[in-house]
Amino acid sequence: MLRLLNIEFIKLWNNKASKILILAYFILLSSIALISAIKFDFGMFKFHLAEQGIFNFPYIWHFNTFVAGLLKFFLLIVIVSMVANEYSNKTIKQNLIDGLSKKEWILSKVYTVVVFALISTVFVFVISLILGLIFSSYTEINIIFSDLEYLVAFFIKLFGFFCLGLFAGMLIKRSAFAIGAIVVYFFIEFFSYLIFKGFYRDSDIVDNIYNFLPFKSLWNLIDEPGSRLGAVKELASAAGQDLSYDYAVHWYEIAIVLGWSALFIYLSYRLLLKRDL
């Protein structure tokens, strides 16, 4: 396993574009900390985001994993191109000729994806911990380490998303087209959801189906945290709306995403087995 990771590391780290994107991603992740600096001061109306409780434990786990989840697109580009470039440079052929088995080849990519997801998760954990220790109103140990399932969900979310990228790269073989295809598919899923939702406003059937589709299932892992904020809740109750909502990470949400991930990896492997290079 270390040998395969090492191979993949040499390929990625010597590629300037990948290196810059990876660095940019982690710099952006750290810049979550900058949110704490958001302050509005309009005379009467003073607003300091960090003081609105977004960095309170355990809410911070939810908030930060959600925001960090939005940045995953950067690494998607790296992952799609690390697969598609092997086709355009024909190095996949050379790798196999040099004695890598097809299984090892796919595994080296999957391990890399896992490592990316893992490092991101650890990174978000550390940053959130630091931010929380600075800004949180509650710093009791058992509160700090509650709700950590959001980090698990974050890891699964990245892993699932990157597996999709891996498969798209394998299937389409050109990075730009593969990323384009993912974006197009995202819009198809998103807009068709909105349209069907409009038709069947009163029933759950649309949600029940879409919860099983790739993007919706990824999205479900970490529900949007905004409405959980104290300020937003107050506004809503003032407007007479009840925003109480199920924010928890459910096992079946994880299971659906893991199911997709397994399918994407298996299909990538099948493609490699069946294709003549």
Partner: protein, 298 residues
């Protein structure tokens, strides 16, 4: 002799097209093999199948008597296919490091092999800055990294300038002289004739000949003749016991022998029959003529 690769009844179909048809041959240790065939005769497909990048339709192949899996076997093989494939953004040295990792060997051989192909000075330049000849030489260095049991070269001089071709051939000959088994696929006959001891001739995916190169050029040779009274000469040739057949082209009559006959003896016989020819040359067929005959006739 130890068997390195055995191919039996290998067939590959791309849709309706049969690229390789029921092909069988064996590669023994220590020989230099050539696979000859025009473009599209299935050379690269055959190599691709044995190298785990093309899926066979039917048949079988075995590396090293089938004792180990194909990808393990490939770690003991050095191969270049069609054109050199490396990571363009990495230097030659780093590319070779990657190959070492894949083949599970240490980095100690990299400098030695770069020296053999004469790339030591440019080893830290990016692969994308290399000329085609340099890329091809780097590919050979990469294939040699593990001191392979067999070196497989698919059209190694394709697209190179004369100097590049010469360099590559010199390298191949040097490697062959060290006793490494080589399998060289090419449509360039003089290339095969110069370096190979054995040859497999393919046409449209079918094997036409396999065996030693010198046995392939085994005919007794032929005479090229010129004489004003052609019908008389032809009549003489027809009755001659040693002449298998004759052809006529551009005023030259070519007479093919089926038993050994020296030019002077033949000339004497002609004179005794009252034929004084104006042109007599005895020649042996080159591999090229043999090859063309083989591929045309069937």
């Amino acid at each position: 002799m130890e068997t390195i690769l055995q191919i039996s009844n290998l067939t590959k179909k791309y849709g309706n097209l049969t690229a390789v048809k029921n092909l069988s041959f064996t590669i023994k240790k220590g020989n230099v093999y050539g696979i000859l065939g025009p473009n599209g005769s299935g050379k690269s497909t055959t190599l691709g199948i044995t190298l785990n990048v093309v899926n066979k339709t039917s048949g079988d192949f075995k590396w090293f008597d089938g004792a180990i899996s194909t990808h393990e076997a490939l770690k003991k093989v050095g191969a270049i296919i069609e054109r050199p494939n490396f990571y363009p953004y990495m230097s030659a040295y780093k590319n070779l490091k990657l190959v070492c990792k894949i083949k599970d060997i240490d980095y100690s051989k990299i400098d030695e092999k770069l020296e053999i192909v004469g790339l030591t000075e440019r080893k830290h330049s990016k692969f994308s800055t290399y000329s085609l000849g340099m890329k091809q030489r780097l590919a050979i260095a990469s294939a040699l990294l593990n001191d392979p049991e067999i070196l497989i070269l698919d059209e190694p001089t394709n697209g190179l300038d004369p100097q590049g071709i010469h360099q590559i051939r010199a390298i191949i000959q040097q490697i062959a002289s060290q006793g490494t088994t080589i399998l060289l696929a090419s449509h360039l006959l003089d290339e095969v004739e110069k370096v190979c001891t054995h040859v497999v001739v393919l046409r449209k995916g079918e094997k036409l000949y396999s065996g030693r190169v010198d046995e392939m050029i085994s005919s007794e040779g032929f005479f090229e003749l010129k004489y004003e009274d052609e019908p008389k000469l032809l009549q003489f040739l027809e009755q001659h016991a040693s002449i298998e057949k004759t052809t006529q082209k551009d005023g030259l009559i070519t007479a093919f022998l089926n038993t050994p006959l020296s030019a002077s003896e033949f000339n004497k016989q002609l004179v005794e029959s009252g034929i004084y020819i104006s042109h007599l040359v005895m020649r042996k067929e080159s591999l090229e003529e043999q090859f063309l005959q083989l591929t045309d006739n069937k």
